[in-house]
């Protein structure tokens, strides 16, 4: 049936779905963070906007930002400064292209899905670097440089953790990885048991991937590029209005995309035991969303509980602990794969 739809129309629909999904989930996430953080801090959180529980609060904030003046500092590198938020947002949006939300629901099922993911998700750091450099502000510059150093240190554990998954699944395609997780591992009393990778051998990889993705996202305890108490607001210090909103949205969209990757690769993606393929076609997106929000809850929980660590400690954690551990994980996975 899909073959009959004209390519351009299909593309348009896909773009709308991906954008809508990303923005919609991001707005929900902003609301969720406001509410969850409020409850962690024994506050109420958004209450008035929209009538009940302040559900329209993120919308109101977006509208507020739209009204603000779009300032460009005199010292700024004009073009770089203006372009940076788009680069940041584009890198984040592009990751959704390969995330499967159902057996048939994927914008583009690339055979090298993981490669694509890792390559494209680093693009947003380029946006951060551009913002840091282009702002013409020393705090922004330090923030941008910190983000660059952080990217180099934490891209490695991220990649190496996924290498182990690729070895175990035997494919680089994300749909393939989900299907591999849905494949029964063994049978107990006539019931086929399939386990997501977090439960079947990749627990170390899961933990490291979550830690590294926190660093990639500049979330507490790795929010050094922003570091409000040190660098005022790091690379977004000079931004206002719509461009600030892009960064804000980009941050949350980045969280959603990282959570989507974690859910897909480690938690079984759209798949849930006991559901047939046709049922997954309908329920898949919701299952994935539930898993995404579980991971997001972890992100938010960490942020509102922990302080920020220091640059040298951050680098030490990556190079001394995470990278050796991922290497061990790869060797262990490969050994098991050969032995079993």
């Amino acid at each position: 049936m899909i073959e009959n739809v004209p390519f351009a129309l299909l593309l348009g629909i896909k773009v709308l779905v991906v954008l809508g999904l990303m923005l919609g989930v991001s707005l929900v996430l902003i609301y969720a963070e406001l509410k969850w953080s409020a409850h962690i801090q024994s506050r109420v959180g958004p209450w008035y906007v929209g009538g009940r529980w302040g559900w329209a609060h993120p919308l109101a904030e977006a509208v507020k930002f739209l009204q603000k003046e779009d300032l460009v500092p005199e010292e700024a590198d004009d073009k770089v400064f203006r372009l940076a938020p788009y680069v940041m947002l584009a890198g984040t949006v592009a990751t959704f292209v390969v995330i499967p939300i159902g057996p048939e629901w994927v914008a583009r099922n690339l055979d090298v899905g993981i490669f694509y993911l890792l390559a494209i998700s680093s693009l947003s750091t380029l946006g951060v670097l551009m913002a840091g450099w282009g702002s013409g502000n020393k705090y922004s510059l330090i923030g941008g440089v910190r983000a660059g150093a952080q990217l180099i240190a934490y891209e490695l554990p991220l990649v190496l953790a996924l290498v182990a998954v690729a070895i175990q699944a035997g494919t680089l395609s994300l749909t393939g990885i989900v299907e591999a997780q849905a494949t029964p591992l063994f049978t107990i009393g006539g019931v086929d048991i399939a386990l997501p990778y977090v439960l079947s051998g990749q627990i170390i990889g899961f933990v490291i991937f979550v830690i590294a993705s926190l660093a990639e996202l500049n979330r507490t305890p790795f929010d050094l590029p922003l570091a409000e108490s040190e660098l005022t607001m790091g690379y977004v210090t000079e931004y206002s209005g719509l461009r600030f909103t892009m960064f804000f949205l980009g941050e949350y969209a980045g969280m959603v995309s990282m959570a989507a990757i974690v859910s897909t690769v480690y938690l079984g993606g759209y798949w849930m035991p006991g559901l047939s393929d046709s049922a997954l076609d309908i329920a898949g997106p919701f299952i994935l969303l539930a898993k995404i929000f579980f991971v997001l809850f972890l992100f938010i929980w960490f942020r509102w509980t922990w302080p920020r660590i220091r640059e040298d400690q951050l680098q030490g954690l990556a190079w001394k602990w995470l990278i050796p551990l991922t290497l061990f994980n790869i060797i262990a996975t490969a050994t098991l794969k050969v032995v079993l």
């Binding site: 953080s37 962690i40 801090q41 024994s42 506050r43 020393k138 705090y139 330090i142 507490t220 305890p221 929010d223 050094l224 570091a227 409000e228 108490s229 040190e230 660098l231 005022t232 509102w304 509980t305 922990w306 302080p307 920020r308 660590i309 220091r310 640059e311 040298d312 400690q313």
Partner: protein
Amino acid sequence: MTQLDSRGIVEVSDGGVSVELKGEAMTLNIGPQHPSTHGVLRLVAEVDGERISKLDPAIGYMHRGKEKLSEVRTYPQITALINRIDWVSGFANEVAFIRAVEKLTGIEPTERAQMIRLILTELTRISNHLVFASSYPLELGAATPLMWAFREREHIMDVIESVTGGRFHPNFNRVGGVKPAAGGGKTQKKVSLDLPSGFYASVENAMDKAELACDELDELVTGNEMIQIRTKDVGIISYEDAVAYGISGPNARASGVPTDLRKLEPDVLPYAGLDFDVITRENGDSFDRYLVRIAEIRESIKIVRQAVNSVPAGPLQAKVPRVLKVPAGSIYVRAENPKGEMGYYIVSQGGRVPYRVKIRSASFSNISIMSKVAVGQLIPDLVATMGSLDFVLGDVDR
């Protein structure tokens, strides 16, 4: 860690290749508007990358000239000025001043008033330390302790407000006692002539809540490994530096200095009959300064619990002449403010206004060591050190 030499040149040799990297120092202006300078402190830092090679605190953005203003005000009017010096612990600022005036004039405050002063001073100390314990994690990047500690601090503020009528600026001390009636003036009714009813119960409740806050902070902050690696061995101040720079209060006690003016100046407030310990620690790093304050909250709770059971009956105010003239003489009286030694040197020439008032505030001396401690630190360490010194800009600039 590679250290730069004085020319800013570092030699790196890697096998056969030898390169010379020249670092250029960047001047980073931290403040006067910056989230972690507690107001309008400005730090001019020379940084190489993130490492600070020189730091020059520039103060005076909030200088209100209180010493000059004191020369044109009567003694009772000055109390309104000075509780705005360190606005986080307004009541404690007044005590040393009012005791100095009382000693010069020879007016003995009533015992009941002295005990009420003591209780309010300790409540202020708990409140101040809770503000510290909540805002310090915020500077390290943790936002939640702020809300938890502020929530419990509110009970203490309610008590202070119910007694004095003001949350931050009580202006409650009078020469010879404490303000006998909240309210007053011509149009307002005099609503209270003594401690409000239910005072002791609400103090007990506030102490329970403060203890709860300490327990929560211990779980959320003190035991947190990330807080510890951020603050241990950061911003070490030695005993010798602490005394030579005039660092006082919890900051000095974290470096092992055993000075506690509550013990050393027994005639300022009646601490003599109360059982409490002076908390000292040895390392003098940021974490110790944090620990000292948390332990001091618990000690202060102990003091308040003892004190509310021993408030003597009697008048709140001794007999004082209508127009207060202070005999000629000069006196220095110091008291233990939550931030350290708060003292007033008063020169009187027999009139209604002092000839000269020198205000010795704790934060001024406490942060003067920053330019020494910060050298060689990273910017995050600078923030961690600065926050641990617990200063208030009003107390620095006066």
